[in-house]
Symmetry: C2
């Protein structure tokens, strides 16, 4: 059984044959073919991926397209709430949503380290299968490379996505406008703390799970009802603070957050205090920042709250004309402080 | 001056500041921003990449699209005739051509190892700039990650490409038909031998350069004149032998090569003899196999020969009804031998 209590299908390359990935699995010969035909096509195959070609030929599409790419190097590759597989799939889906698009097609490129357990690769492929099916997207083309032991770290995944931009939506960080409000669909910092708690030697027992989740189904309903959204962005690396700082810089506006409105789970808060981290800077993988005119906020919030992934949606801040380029926060104790962009790497290899 | 004798612009992040890539360059904060703004946007920027967003919004496109992805892990990253940068760009362009498409948009995702010399990254970015300008494609979106020293190998690059399928072309390995001939645009094995000769300790002085080259301009002219092409494939990993074996398997036809017609440079032949390799299995990065009815071969050959990258174009084999699924070769000494698919990794990390 897998973590969800379902019976997981057995790895189709048995231990007696190849317990671990070898260099030849990336050589483009018979073993690459076996890997693709036994492990990948049966789980991810579709009319496009099956074509046995160097690329996919996709049907004509009306309107603008969005394209986004991300390489995932998260460490560890399995963590509470997910693994590098669903993380990669959901991450690219959410980046397409951030462009105001309906995600459609995903490419999947694997860089495997020689010696990766075949069972681990299998778990990751099953996880990609579940995530793509949940999000309603297709993996249409792929690639597999293998590097020598010590020249990679088990598995890196690139997912690149194409989506269809929803007509009428004009999303850009530059459209952030004074009078807008900032919404988020739930608690912050869960993913980053889940990764930290899964790392060896930290001795963290926060019980926090990653929030990795595709947000396209919820946002698709929002898009159908409201075209006035100015900015969308999933606050991953750099967290809410990093993302909002980028938006302020791009638009020349200020953003004022309200600490009392920031949803932070007890486990995340506790772990952050222990580690000297601020949840505002910790990565999320199932959250969306939605910036839009205040007049439309309640309608959009009520749509988001109708979805499980948006039940905790709320307004966390406002866009201001003053303090352009800066994120500030009204603190719980009544002061106002600057939420600066971090210069460095708070948590390396978080995604 | 660079290898081409041009004055190369200086690395915009001086040694005094960051001589090497550090983890924070992948953290999504200020240093990631600096890397993108100083090194990438000034060289690769365009109306799409400049938008400062998680993805690119691309204009509507008529007709079918092709999508292809490849991660490049070539070792070494600099080699005679090219580097991992132009290799990644040209490889994805050629995969789009293999789908019968005009390459348009490329995504660029970098996985850097902590400690990579900033100057090396800069050389690679300049090389990507040259290659994308030569091919006439745009890098429209990107991503940068950094992994700890010893968890990667200097730089891995994913390029994913989108192209517009040329109307009327129906390219598939399954369309390979008895009576077709197999064309190639020049000598085989150059890339693989160039990589081997660049590897430390091999003591190979073959003087062979990689053939890394984008083939879309030449093939675009072919596409305009002739829609009857059945199969296109660039023989990279696994070489001509590996690629033709896949085509025979997919189509259930046989292919009979003529050894006397196989173009192999002296340096490649010599190195292959020394190393016990067969040039038929050695990777190419600027070659295209074109399979089409014999009646159209001379016309297509004459178009290809009008281009520098196709001056050596010729017929190297024929598609047969007999021996389905098998590649065979008439040897120079008058015998016929089977050209099997290799099972493993002849040359690891060749691309």
């Amino acid at each position: 059984m897998n973590d969800s209590g379902e019976f997981a299908p057995q790895c189709p390359i048995p231990r007696s044959e190849y317990e671990h990935v070898v260099l030849a699995h990336g050589g483009g010969g018979r073993l690459t073919r076996q890997l693709v035909e036994k492990m990948i096509l049966p789980r991810l195959g579709n009319e496009f991926l099956d074509r046995d070609h160097d690329g996919a030929v996709l049907p004509p599409q009306e309107g603008e397209m969005a394209m986004t790419t991300d390489s995932f190097v998260v460490d560890p590759i399995f963590f509470p709430g997910g693994d590098i597989g669903d993380l990669a799939l959901n991450g690219t889906v959410n980046d397409l949503v951030s462009c105001g698009a309906e995600p459609m097609y995903i490419s999947l490129s694997l860089i495997l380290e020689e010696g990766l357990a075949m069972e681990d690769l299998w778990k990751i492929i099953l996880s990609i299968e579940r995530a793509s099916s949940t999000a309603g997207v297709m993996v249409v083309t792929g690639d597999t490379k293998v590097v020598e032991r010590g020249k990679g770290d088990r598995i890196f995944i690139n997912t690149t996505g194409i989506g269809s931009v929803v007509p009428g939506l004009r999303i850009s960080p530059r459209h952030c406008t004074p009078g807008d409000v900032v919404l988020i669909n739930g608690s912050i910092g869960d993913h980053g703390i889940a990764i930290l708690s899964a790392r060896d030697g930290l001795g963290l027992e926060a019980g926090v799970k990653s929030d990795t989740l595709a947000l396209n189904r919820m946002m698709s309903v929002v898009f159908r009802h409201r075209k006035e959204i100015h900015v969308l962005r999933d606050p991953t690396r750099g967290g809410v603070a990093g993302t909002l700082n980028e938006i302020c810089l791009a638009s020349g506006t200020g953003i004022l957050l309200d600490e009392n409105e920031l949803p932070v789970k007890d486990g995340v808060r506790g772990a952050c205090e222990l580690l000297g981290l601020d949840p505002l800077y910790v990565a999320n993988e199932g959250k969306m920042l939605v910036i839009l005119p205040e007049a439309h906020a309640e309608e959009v919030l009520s749509i988001m709250r109708d979805h499980e992934e948006g039940m905790e949606s709320r307004i966390i801040g406002r866009v201001t004309e003053d303090h352009p380029g800066m994120v500030r926060m009204h603190t719980a104790i009544g002061t106002t402080r600057i939420i600066d962009m971090i210069s460095g790497e708070q948590l390396p290899r978080i995604c």
